[in-house]
């Protein structure tokens, strides 16, 4: 009861919970398609690449999250373009881009004088730093991405199973793929404030991976992924608040615990 009172009392915790709820929905929904397309490394790469965008924004004295979102869109378009132009494997292109972008971020950070607590919060996540502007960006982006995903889910899923069959079926596979890259990049960067650059991609992978072991239909896979994602974020944020721990690390540990528990349950149910 005491905890509930504190949640009502502290606006920063309210903002973190609303942002966490939206991000749980967004990252799990996109994570379902990302795991189907074997794109787990994409989130990792974009999150690390966002360091340059965040560093530029802090150096220039502008709001980091909107600028990092813009930076993520540029990175997503570059990954899409380079994959097609160079014919290099996706993970190679992402590996090159994220290290180059991160290197740029480190150089820019070196120009910024003094201790940078905001920059550190981006690296490991913090529930204290969610501002109203961040909440607006997260809300607007989530509505836009989830609306598009709702309208495109069937064609996006079909093209993830067979791009050629989807193209013959009349699906604009190039546009849908590019939009998915942008959506996943934006969602990843939005999650950076709570989860941190280092850990945000876990929320793209963990809930769908856990759900996959527990479900046999796509509908249930999707729903259970979102439920696990929301439970993971809610418990992670509360533990982070109560025990004063970095939110990103706690959320990822909660998600990993649920994953291991599900794997053990799955193993026993198969034996029986």
């Amino acid at each position: 009861m005491n905890l509930l009172t504190e949640i009502i009392t502290f606006p920063f915790l309210q903002r973190a919970l609303v942002a966490g709820f939206l991000l749980g929905l967004l990252l799990a929904s996109l994570g379902v398609i990302a795991t189907l397309r074997k794109m787990a490394f994409f989130g990792e790469g974009v999150a690390h690449a966002s360091l340059a965008g965040i560093a530029i924004a802090i150096f220039a004295g502008i709001a980091p999250v909107p600028f990092a979102v813009l930076w993520a869109v540029i990175i997503a378009v570059l990954i899409y373009w380079l994959e097609r132009k160079t014919k290099l494997p996706s993970d190679t292109v992402i590996g090159i881009l994220f290290t180059a972008s991160m290197a740029l971020g480190v150089i820019i950070m070196s120009f910024t004088q003094g201790y940078q607590p905001e920059l550190l919060s981006f690296l490991f996540g913090s529930i204290l730093t969610i501002q109203n502007i961040d909440l607006v960006v997260i809300s607007v982006s989530s509505i836009m991405i989830l609306s598009w995903l709702g309208a495109s889910l069937s064609s996006l899923t079909f093209l993830s199973l067979s791009e050629e069959a989807a193209q013959v079926a009349g699906i604009n596979t190039k546009l849908q793929t590019l939009l998915f890259y942008i959506a996943l990049a934006v969602a990843t960067v939005l999650g950076v404030k709570i989860l941190g650059i280092v850990l945000v991609s876990a929320l793209i992978v963990l809930p769908p991976a856990t759900s996959k072991m527990l479900t046999t239909s796509f509908k249930n896979y999707f729903i259970v992924s979102i439920v696990i994602s929301e439970i993971t974020i809610l418990l992670g944020l509360l533990f982070s608040f109560v025990y004063d721990l970095p939110s990103g690390a706690v959320i990822v540990l909660v998600g990993s615990f649920i994953f291991v528990l599900s794997a053990i349950m799955n193993s026993f149910s198969k034996q029986n």
């Binding site: 199973l161 067979s162 050629e164 193209q167 013959v168 996959k212 046999t216 239909s217 796509f218």
Partner: protein
């Protein structure tokens, strides 16, 4: 569903002077042939002869170097709704949680009859119970039939299949032949397939296209596929056995 009305002498696929290159190396050069509507046609040829590239070029999945392709007298983009395709490699994670029904629904047109999926599953000879099964649990033959059922969901006039008999057993192959015959006779669907299996081709096809970098023959299998022609197509290393008045050939490559 009754068979669609057939225009006399309508051509389903018209390929004229088609050439395709891959990294400046010609895959095939100056290919011309027609496939009449309502025919079952097969492209035959050894590995690397350009069979799959040919159907991918017809489907605009591979860019042509020169030449012209018409589908029912129009360019593909004007007639895309009349065409369906079953690719050779429909590879997906076998553990992926998706039922056959959900897979079928991915390409079902909005507003389509709710019973259409059950109808198509029945047409390919599967029980409706298969709809609740997870895709990854299907056998090779069942998966092939599900892929065909999905491809014909929106009643295409032209169905293109790449190596459809790969990975299915003798029973599955017999069922596959029956499905193609059914589609031709009941729906007047034009079918173009790529196959290594000459015996399979001879049992059902009306038109055969022999391809090995260039067009070696085109016509009915009975008049076209002589042992000599097959030796030309597959090379002297192949062993061709003729049976049953020369209409049944087995090739060991």
């Amino acid at each position: 569903m009754p068979a669609k009305s057939k225009k006399i002498n309508e051509v389903a696929i018209s390929v004229e002077h088609l050439s395709v290159k891959y990294e400046n190396e010609p895959v095939f050069t100056d290919i011309t042939f027609d496939i009449p509507a309502g025919n079952i046609a097969a492209i035959l040829g050894p590995n690397g002869s350009g069979k799959t590239t040919m159907i991918k070029t017809i489907l605009d999945l591979v860019k042509k170097d020169s030449g012209n392709i018409l589908i029912f007298g129009k360019h593909l983009h004007e007639n895309r709704h009349r065409v369906a395709y079953v690719p050779q490699n429909f590879e997906f994670d076998k553990q992926f949680p998706m039922t056959v029904l959900e897979f079928m629904n991915l390409t079902k047109h909005k507003g389509a009859d709710e019973n259409i999926v059950q109808g198509k599953i029945a047409e390919v000879g599967l029980d409706s119970e298969v709809l609740s099964k997870r895709l990854g649990t299907l056998s090779g033959g069942q998966m092939q039939r599900v892929l065909i059922a999905q491809a014909i969901l929106n009643d295409p006039d032209l169905l293109i299949l790449d190596e459809p008999s790969t990975g299915i057993d003798v029973v599955g192959e017999a069922a596959f032949v029956q499905i193609l015959k059914h589609l031709k006779e009941k729906h007047n669907t034009t079918i173009l397939l790529v196959s290594h299996d000459v015996s399979l081709v001879l049992t059902i096809v009306d038109t055969v296209i022999c391809l090995n970098k260039k067009l070696l023959c085109v016509g009915s299998p009975k008049s076209t596929l002589t042992a000599k022609k097959l030796a030309d197509l597959y090379g002297n290393d192949s062993h061709i056995h003729e049976h049953h008045k020369g209409h049944n050939h087995k090739i060991d490559l």
